[in-house]
Symmetry: D2
Subunit: 279 residues, 4 copies
Amino acid sequence: MTKHILLMEGPDAKGLIYQVVKVLFKNECNIIRQDEYVSPSGQFFMRTEFEGSDELNPENILQELRSVVSNKEIKFRTNPKKKKDIVILCTKEHHCLSDLITRYHFQELEANVLAVISNYDILEPYVSKFGIPFHTVSHVGLSREAHENAIIDVIKPYKPEYLVLAKYMRILTPGFVNQFHERIINIHHSFLPAFIGANPYKQAYERGVKIIGATAHFVNNDLDDGPIIAQDIKKVSHRFTAKDMSREGKDVEKTVLTKALKLVFNDRVFIHDNRTIIL
Amino acid sequence: MTKHILLMEGPDAKGLIYQVVKVLFKNECNIIRQDEYVSPSGQFFMRTEFEGSDELNPENILQELRSVVSNKEIKFRTNPKKKKDIVILCTKEHHCLSDLITRYHFQELEANVLAVISNYDILEPYVSKFGIPFHTVSHVGLSREAHENAIIDVIKPYKPEYLVLAKYMRILTPGFVNQFHERIINIHHSFLPAFIGANPYKQAYERGVKIIGATAHFVNNDLDDGPIIAQDIKKVSHRFTAKDMSREGKDVEKTVLTKALKLVFNDRVFIHDNRTIIL
Amino acid sequence: MTKHILLMEGPDAKGLIYQVVKVLFKNECNIIRQDEYVSPSGQFFMRTEFEGSDELNPENILQELRSVVSNKEIKFRTNPKKKKDIVILCTKEHHCLSDLITRYHFQELEANVLAVISNYDILEPYVSKFGIPFHTVSHVGLSREAHENAIIDVIKPYKPEYLVLAKYMRILTPGFVNQFHERIINIHHSFLPAFIGANPYKQAYERGVKIIGATAHFVNNDLDDGPIIAQDIKKVSHRFTAKDMSREGKDVEKTVLTKALKLVFNDRVFIHDNRTIIL
Amino acid sequence: MTKHILLMEGPDAKGLIYQVVKVLFKNECNIIRQDEYVSPSGQFFMRTEFEGSDELNPENILQELRSVVSNKEIKFRTNPKKKKDIVILCTKEHHCLSDLITRYHFQELEANVLAVISNYDILEPYVSKFGIPFHTVSHVGLSREAHENAIIDVIKPYKPEYLVLAKYMRILTPGFVNQFHERIINIHHSFLPAFIGANPYKQAYERGVKIIGATAHFVNNDLDDGPIIAQDIKKVSHRFTAKDMSREGKDVEKTVLTKALKLVFNDRVFIHDNRTIIL
């Protein structure tokens, strides 16, 4: 038996679940887990893990589903549980990067780290220990666009499915973001929407908050405004300076980024209306 | 449209989901949410929220499901979302009781509190403010069995679906427990299985733990060994005496009990193999 | 032996702790617990719990401390552990109010609830059960100032040390706030500074956050911008509508408010530079 | 100015704080932070961070303190904030080890990792990347004592202050433990005292708990019974198999171990009566 994951999204309609389940039943597939959600606005989402005989061609299932389900707007994707290809961008801080690299090295990341790109060479010695290509693309002396184009030139040959911004500290232009629509995942060091923009820990200190946090989100054209995938927090006290918060917040940042990537890499995340649906 | 909840449990088999969904589809029911789980031992659980026309008779659905599903061991229950009838037992401490009474008073508890029974009269003035019958059944001078029989005599006329032990500090005999099989919910003041038995906070203090907790569970014949519904914890430090833990733990106790009751009263809890499956 | 609490605040200087400890030692006082903090800007805070003989006059200690400590800007307060007098303001929601009332009724609140004031009479039947004066001061037909003046007229005779806004849903004017400088505590239903202003749960839903929260803070003239005392959060998912968040957030709100009040009522909170120092 | 940390422990007595503070004052030291605790049994603990002139000899302070404080049972330790020397023991799992190695590599661990010892060579390639000596000491064919002696022979030349058991999966004999009294720190994969002994995740699964956890503790002669330093938990559901718990629990294990080590390495942990006092 081979395992498949079926992802559906579209306007809700009567009998949708029945029609899908019927196709799977007729093809002698065994549903392992099925989760669905209908948004208040009437959008239907379903994620189905099922097993079929090794000879089963998911493309046939898809075709059958498309012909059976009358509403043509519905999209199907099947994704056998395979590892995603990713490229990681970072700057100087290692904590998110090293967590991903360590998991990758020990084959616990549901992704292949094809390369690491940074605008500094600080993390090269660490990354190189693990046989992962490291590209330094300095921004010095380059316009934002020129720098981004240089990065894109490095990324392109790797054909990654996702870009992971593991504390990449430069703002991306819409031109860059548009080339990787809904495929860039960032970790922001605050519980968004609090402390949007630069120096969130400094902002947090100045506001005197008792919790700090981190947010992993897809990047869209509005800074720090993309669909949120995961968030978590850590309690702090008046004794924390902005620097303490920054240091102590790192553990939350890496935990949240890793959690978000796990969800994305396991095909559990839908994006709709600037929100994530996680099934 | 009327809302229904269908609960199924039985040995897993191919096509189960399909057969159920088909019956609902034919009866023009609309599935709002469906969650299923198959245990490693092969037991199948499914909870389906669906809407049907106001004329739909759930009994007909049940009959149809029974005839369609070949495996006769499968059990169905339909529960329109109605409030459960409960009787609460307590002793001297108010925190779990008052939380339930307050929610009940403001119609936020998915249950009708028919009566409160205690072996002390301490909490009577509070309970009486809310027009809820309060019965003091003192254990003084009675054997354990005689006391339990006196309590059962008080309970019986209320015909409650569930008994809630809101810090009822006496151990129940198998004779009592058997009369309310899988219908008694207790709050234990430790993160079970740590600190089984009496004085868990004293035990916790002596062991020097850094977390304390509470566990809501169904009561079975073995003390503190029934199926766990909900657990939560609170961090403590060396500065907490056993008494401090007891005082600070109360908030966790009431939170956990309330959470567990909400799950049970919303028909989200299955019991299997001394474990709860929460869908 | 009688217990005292000494609170000091002022510019840091060499030997401050020594000078204070010396005075206590000479007066045969026994330090039970002493916590101090120096802010990055050089402000010194110290809270000392100590026991002295029953004859000891804290005023004498204060005088001695004032003469010994050269820096005249240092302020001392001694507060024997006595209950604070409070008045609670609320609107229609009961959850924060009923939690406080219940704790007060069972003598677990470190405060005397002198009265409850609301712009609606909805919660009167509940409050009246506990023999606490309830004043309905409707805002209908009144200007904001006129309404606030009417409320102040009700408050004045009670001479409360603190006003607790237990989900009081109207914005207070600077005129009102100034009359109770650093003595008004509010519960805001978001993890500030996220979702300042009206309808934070609606804002949270629209932003698609994965955590919601609550913030207890002192009220100053800028809306939702006063010194934060306590914050906590709850995880949510895409399944939560704004209404669900509002319902589920209530438990966090009441927990956070109660926690903050406990700190304030136990003289553990200093305010400095729009931040709280909690010792 | 040089920073010092003074740790005191002994029977409580009147004026203790005063006498210590006086010595520091006379030596023109500036107290940065001072925390003290008196146990219910009357044991006094104090941790003082202070700054003194670079010429100040902590030994002189100690001598002066010893002559001033009448009670001779009181022990003083001064520890300038220097890194501790440690040796790590592990078996096959990398998650705790790699977290420590990564932090060490990036100079974020308050310790020098002198060597790693394992009864398997599985983790050697990883450790060797970082230039840290790795010693495989197989237990195959050896008695427990012979194996432990072989390990001790490897450890001895390193003269570590602490041994860290980063998922070292073999039980240590009293003979071994006694050689490193209060200097061995272990991570146990349950919220002790729940699930003492082997296979805690299997036990947790079988009990049907809704939380799993991890405990970092000093090792004494009774298995899993030493003083607890730090604990944390993670919520689980019925969907978690024992294997899932084991995988998901790893993140808690490494977080808890790192947290505990940070406390120990910063001289913040006292041990008394099989409990830790953390100041």
